[in-house]
Symmetry: C2
Subunit: 243 residues, 2 copies
């Protein structure tokens, strides 16, 4: 029986990969995934056969990987960050019922909420919500409802996919919702290109966040009401009582 | 100037550590942290000096680490999972203003939300909320408000610290809140001792979750309304439209 590893490689560089992820990439005979992510790992595994597909063809990519696994191959599906957080794990499981049985193993990785938070200080040190602003597969009304829920219950918030070419004003719309519940001075931050060339981190107020131009390589953080900006870092206390 | 690395070592075994975390532990001359976590890594680094402190003395532990860093040492504070998710990162930043300047670097790791999810399938494949049920430093009213917010906005949910010796019925209380908004058939699951001896994962309904006895080594997962139980795995679709 073939096998698919769904491998979270962390933010990008080899340094951010776990030993378990490296072992899965070593074991496989076929590397699958979005071309951009394959590029991040192929240098270390030049001898592996590739099954690369362009962005936005996730379903086709997963089908091909399942086909190859059903034919007896050991396939490693390379995912950025963690394979289970907006990664391919859910989709591969969903599609797997259409194929002969294959073994599926998810190899977890460091998701952008954690790797980005590390660059900003400690923005997610208390309860937090992770929300994608992409409305490709989720109605905007539900995204808005989640932003309201997270803002009103004082969650720390991490936003994935804050913008794309077609969704230039989504972060602004999201901030307008958050500002109904939070102070304009609420601490916030953005990180770009985590663990890759051009990595940057920037701390600001929620009000200033609303005016930022972001792209699909940006991850956005909004602290809770207790989060402070301290020496250029976001610091969320571990509770609502004094240290 | 001394330095503190806040090192997320992932769930437990060496396999779950990133190369960056291993490098930080290698570089330091002093290993700090809760005794139980130090035990997980000291075998690999037998030559390092230890600064171990018992559970629940987090503030004292961080003070000692800052003192040593201020004296010129390179200290690695070992945290389970990710250092920024209910880890020591926030506390070290908070306390650092009381000490001479030291460099602080957070080395992110695989948090239990991700490592536990991997064992259950793909429960967090859409927007999710991470909530700790510990009311040591957070009023229960706020925890309850967050549970309501997450349940009503159809977030996938991951619960940390679902119980302790003094909080035996907290998971039950949490489930009662979730059941006000979710079906008793809502998919759920628990994992125990992730990445350690005795690791186990169990999939069930929300109704069944309410009756579970859990401990402080358990992480709890509740899917969203779309999450399915499929061949014993939790599978959350990546959106609200068909594949």
């Amino acid at each position: 029986m073939g096998k698919i590893y769904l491998v979270g490689i962390g933010p990008g560089k080899k340094q951010g990969m776990t030993l378990q992820a490296l072992a899965a990439l070593e074991e496989c005979d076929l590397l699958a995934g979005y071309t951009g992510y394959i590029e991040l790992v192929r240098e270390q595994f030049p001898q592996k056969q590739l099954l690369a597909t362009p962005m936005r063809q996730e379903t086709e990519r997963c089908r091909q990987a399942l086909e190859q696994a059903a034919a007896g191959h050991t396939v490693a599906m390379v995912c950025s960050g963690d394979a289970g957080v907006y990664g391919m794990a859910g989709l591969v499981y969903e599609l797997s019922i259409q194929f002969p049985p294959v073994e599926i193993e998810v190899v977890p990785g460091v998701t952008a909420a954690c790797s980005g938070a590390a660059l900003l200080g400690a923005p997610l040190a208390h309860d937090f919500a992770v929300i994608s602003l992409s409305d490709l597969l989720t109605p905007w009304e539900l995204i808005a409802q989640r932003l309201k829920a997270a803002a009103s219950a004082d969650f720390c918030i991490c936003l994935y996919n804050p913008a794309s070419k077609k969704r230039v004003d989504y972060l602004q719309r999201a901030c307008d919702i958050l500002l109904q519940y939070r102070s304009p001075e609420n601490a916030a931050g953005i990180v770009r290109q985590i663990g890759r060339e051009g990595e940057s981190a920037q701390v600001m107020t929620l009000e200033a966040l609303r005016e930022m131009q972001v792209d699909m390589f940006t991850t956005v953080f909004v602290g809770n009401s207790q989060t402070k900006i301290q020496d250029g870092k976001l610091v969320t206390p571990r509770g609502y009582r004094n240290v």
